[in-house]
Amino acid sequence: MAKIPEKELMFQGTTACPGCGAGNAMRYVLKALGKNTIINIPACCWAVIPGVYPSRNLDIPLLYNAFEATGAASSGVRAALNAKGIDPREITVAGFAGDGGTADIGIQALSGCVERGTDTIQIMYDNEAYMNTGIQRSGETPYGAWTTTTPVGSEKAWKKNPKKNMMEIMNAHGIPYTATVSIAYPEIMIEKIQKAKDIPGPKFIHIYAPCPTGWRSDPSDTVKLAKLAFETCVFPLYEIENGVYNIYKKPKKKVPVRDYLKLQGRFRHLPTEEVELIQENVDREWELLQKKEKFTKE
């Protein structure tokens, strides 16, 4: 397992909320990618976390771009570097967008970027809602969650749609590498991102990044929640390399989803039968994933 590089490319003085999972997501990403990286960030929490002009909290060049434009911006930077004869293995171009900027408004540019074969790493730090604008539901908000646009009212309550599966969407593009990683396991996260960095072509990384503010959880529970998401199989850790699935870390014993949900205020309203329904869904998805692994490895 990769050791965590000592060198910090993210400075202190970030304006992220206390206990922010996205803060560590960026920190580990930069530790993995190193200094020779250019990063594109759309509108998202990370457009604000570096601070206001003239503050910067990354020790690498950062290009802020429009909300829906990260994939296109990555293609543009990569094209400019190509034109100047700078090899993709020499300088890494990465897109770093939230779940909205990746899976919702940014999905078109992202799809175009990887379909064109841009040699880049597109990273989604997933905090499961539009957190920067104040916790509105996104395509990555899970079933059952409260958000400010899926409030728990007397007539209608919570989000009734499932979470969009970005790993499958990206894999359907036929790209060489996609992986889920979690801030609870930085060593593996860094290893997987470094692996992606060395693979030519478009890569996609899905980072699980809890948001205490939006999930109505205690800031100190951020890492614990990320661990529970893995142990409950809510967020399995796997990679897809050239179509072959590999669940690279499997929980020794599956923890009930209830344990994960109860730490978060956004699920507080759920009646027992709904929790059971979520458990059933998680079980089914986990089963399916294992079958995919078995099938593609054979």
């Binding site: 950062l62 290009l63 802020y64 771009n65 296109a72 930077v77 400019a80 034109a83």
Partner: protein
């Protein structure tokens, strides 16, 4: 060696990009711009053009990719039209806010609905507030020339703004004319490689485009205003230099055609100017003291220049090939704005040729005669829609 080729306006744009040694092209096809991107694709495929061509999935991404490439220090170019341009809107402002000299060719096409692919300036003029320099071309040579000049103007350290070189749908985009394709070495001398002071650089890890609080935002907007103030002089200077090297004078801010001491001044933009010049000749032969000003640069708007050329003029007749919903055409509005408090004259706005409606010499002559007649009868109507179904008899007779 320069060489004459018979090419369409679209090919002229592509050759302009090639001669400018554009490093990154990102574009998405739309009628009637497709030939620009097809030609560039062909030139790149044949190794005749050394550019990275990013085949984006939308116009929004086209401009986003150009912005990013320009931020990374590359000369970037795109082309679009109408709805594609409208989709780019957010990023047109982004490019100017980020002070990036991205140059694009826009083929002027009407906005739908009703769906229309024909000439109309509405698409371009709807983007007049986005911080783009806007150059309206009269012929295919000018399209090629303007692409090269636009890079030179925009990359000036005092300007650093994006630009649109625009040509009328089909009338220029698909009509072939003889165009001089200049010697590459001569162009290289005129247009040195793009080398911005700041760019994405791992050795200087800065952030580009962060959040600006109210204590700074306004000052950065003022910096753009300063660039626009300097731009007219820069445009004239570059045009002069271009004329000296390549022998083609495209008119800089405004091309004046027989404007000395005229009583009536006709203002046109784009492709109708050529026909209008013939009509001016005809009217002058008939004894009318009339001249033509071709408004070539719409942004920055040549305010001073308009004041200068309207000295002693009684009537200004403006032909607007666009209708700004709500109140007439853009050119007339802006000219009035420039002349307010400076000139006491009659100004009439003629809305003409929308959605590609044909403008024959006959119609143009009738418009000019109408403008001339205002000298005696005074202003009858501020805004006149020409050649509608209800009044065709009058304008076509």
């Amino acid at each position: 060696m320069s060489e004459m080729k018979i090419v369409s306006g679209n090919f002229a744009a592509a050759y302009g990009a090639k001669l400018s040694r554009v490093e990154v092209v990102a574009a998405y096809p739309i009628t009637p711009q497709t030939e620009v991107v097809e030609k560039i694709a062909e030139l790149v495929s044949n190794g005749e053009m050394d550019s990275e061509y990013v085949k984006v999935e939308s116009e929004h991404s086209a401009m986003a990719a150009c912005i990013a490439a320009s931020n990374a220090g590359a000369r970037a170019y795109t082309a679009s039209s109408a709805h594609g341009l409208a989709l780019m809107h957010e990023l047109l402002i982004w490019a100017s806010g980020a002070r990036l000299p991205v140059v694009m060719t826009n083929i002027n096409r009407a906005m739908g609905p009703p769906w229309s692919v024909w000439a109309d300036h509405h698409d371009t003029l709807a983007q007049k507030g986005t911080g783009q320099l806007q150059f309206f071309c009269e012929n295919n040579q000018e399209v090629l020339d303007s692409v090269i000049m636009a890079f030179k103007i925009c990359e000036d350290a005092d300007i650093m703004l994006p630009a649109m070189v625009v040509e009328d749908a089909f009338i220029l985009s698909h009509t072939k004319e003889p165009v001089e394709i200049y010697d590459q070495e001569l162009v290289d001398e005129f247009l040195p490689p793009y080398d911005p002071e700041y760019k994405l650089d791992v050795e200087r890890p800065f952030g580009f485009g962060s959040l600006g609080m109210p204590d700074w935002y306004m000052d950065f907007r003022y910096k753009i205003a300063e660039a626009f103030e300097k731009a007219p002089e820069k445009i004239e200077k570059v045009n002069k230099e271009f004329t000296e090297i390549f022998g083609n004078d495209n008119g800089g801010l405004i091309e004046e055609y027989k404007t000395d001491g005229v009583d009536v001044l006709i203002v046109t933009m784009g492709s109708i100017s050529s026909t209008s010049k013939d009509v001016i000749d005809e009217l002058r032969k008939e004894g009318h003291n009339v001249g033509l000003a071709r408004l070539r640069t719409f942004r920055p708007f040549p305010v001073e220049k308009f004041r200068e050329i309207t000295k002693g003029v009684n009537v200004v007749g403006v032909m607007d090939r666009s209708y700004t919903f709500g109140h007439g055409g853009d050119a007339a509005r802006e000219i009035k704005d420039a002349l307010y408090g400076h000139r006491d004259l009659i100004l009439k706005d003629y809305i003409v040729g929308l959605g590609g409606r044909d403008l024959t010499p006959k119609i143009l002559k009738n418009i000019m005669l109408d403008a001339i007649s205002l000298q005696d009868k005074g202003l009858d109507k501020e805004i006149e829609w020409v050649d509608l179904r209800i009044n065709q008899e009058r304008w076509r007779r």
